[in-house]
Symmetry: C2
Subunit: 231 residues, 2 copies
């Protein structure tokens, strides 16, 4: 694993649980693979712009070679984010659940990077599946924190989870074929024993996951199970 893209989006810089999780993940990772390059993109510090009518008209209607200076500037944030994404092997998506889904800044990132002829191609000649991802071979780890809990498969709040499920639906556009690795802290709003147990478990899960993903024996990291839960 040569390069990690660390995507932060918690509005909190201090007292952020997700930032604690990612700091631990990267600390453990660096112990085992100190040469890994880590790119940090903090979407909370510099949120991507919302897409506009001009953005849509340009990406769908104009050949890149024909972009005007204004169009180049309009697409510059998207170019930068896609360029960053394209170079990495592992995406470390670090995200609290806000109102049962992604923080708006993270959704703004997805809306900038999922772009025709850059991260996907579209061809009606392919019939009912006209969309094909362009990027490939990346691993996705989602570290999340949720105010409530029981959002897993078969659990009572499963249908309320629009965070990891939504990210997973978009993962192919990021070049991620396999299911994401999930580590989460639950019941943050309650601050009770469930919260503390969940947080302790999350740190253990991260330790096991890093061990698995950096396995020097070269086992395929996407085929292991570790302690981290798959969607």
């Amino acid at each position: 694993m040569k390069t990690i893209l660390e995507l932060q989006c918690s509005a909190r810089k201090t007292r952020s649980i997700t930032r604690e999780l990612s700091a631990f993940f990267l600390q453990e990772w660096s112990k085992r693979q100190p040469k890994t390059r880590i790119i940090c993109r903090d979407l909370s510090n510099t949120p991507p712009p919302f897409v506009t009518e001009e953005w849509i008209a340009t990406v769908f209607g104009v050949e890149e070679a024909d972009y005007t200076q204004v169009q180049k500037e309009l697409l510059a944030p998207s170019d930068e984010l896609i360029g960053e994404l394209a170079t990495v092997d592992l995406i470390l998506m670090v995200t609290p659940m806000y109102n049962y889904g992604m923080p708006a800044a993270l959704k703004a990132w997805f809306d900038q990077v999922i772009r025709v002829n850059k991260t996907f191609s579209f061809d009606l000649a392919r019939g009912n599946q006209p969309i094909e991802p362009i990027l490939s071979g990346k691993t996705l780890v989602i570290l999340s924190s949720r105010g409530e809990g029981d959002f897993g498969l078969g659990e009572v709040n499963e249908s309320m989870n629009h965070l990891e499920t939504h990210i997973s639906s978009c993962r192919h556009f990021l070049g991620v074929e396999s299911e994401p690795y999930l580590v989460h802290v639950d019941y943050q709003e309650f601050g009770d024993t469930r919260f503390r147990a969940s947080k302790e478990q999350a740190f253990r899960d991260i330790e096991a996951l890093v061990f698995q993903l950096t396995d020097p024996n070269g086992h395929n990291p996407t085929s292991g199970t570790g302690n981290a839960e798959h969607i």
Copy 2:
């Protein structure tokens, strides 16, 4: 029905399918209930700011009476959006599906209006259900357009739909107890017969839905079925 909040979020001002749908909805509505007041909030023209660390610290940590001038200004967009929402009887949420979910601008709206002591109260003394909505009695209509299709219950892309499902999970915070009314246009990216049939059906659904919701016999609009699909 005295007041409608029309929430627009398509980046497209021209060639927008969702804006066509809502224009038709409001035209039909005004024919039957010309005295209804309509508030239009265009989140694409004036997107809400992203929530920040200061925003979270203020709403969770400071009594409103003690807000500083800086905190008042920070919360002003949230106050305005919540004040607008609180006054209305029907929310007409007009939204394209972007990357299988809400446009980021619409998520930014949710993140500003779902606010402790304004749209929900939180009390751990309530046990496992500490959250209670503050607003009530509103009707929610979602008019959407999706590039692909078959996102309905039991359909092949059901698990990819993080738009209406996510909105519905948040609806209680908007004061909406009943399931939303859904009208959608599908297969927009294909531009084929399925798209045209879906669009024609959507206009028929809107006509029937307006008829149902403005029923002069006073039938409970939330108990009818009409042609519109419920989640």
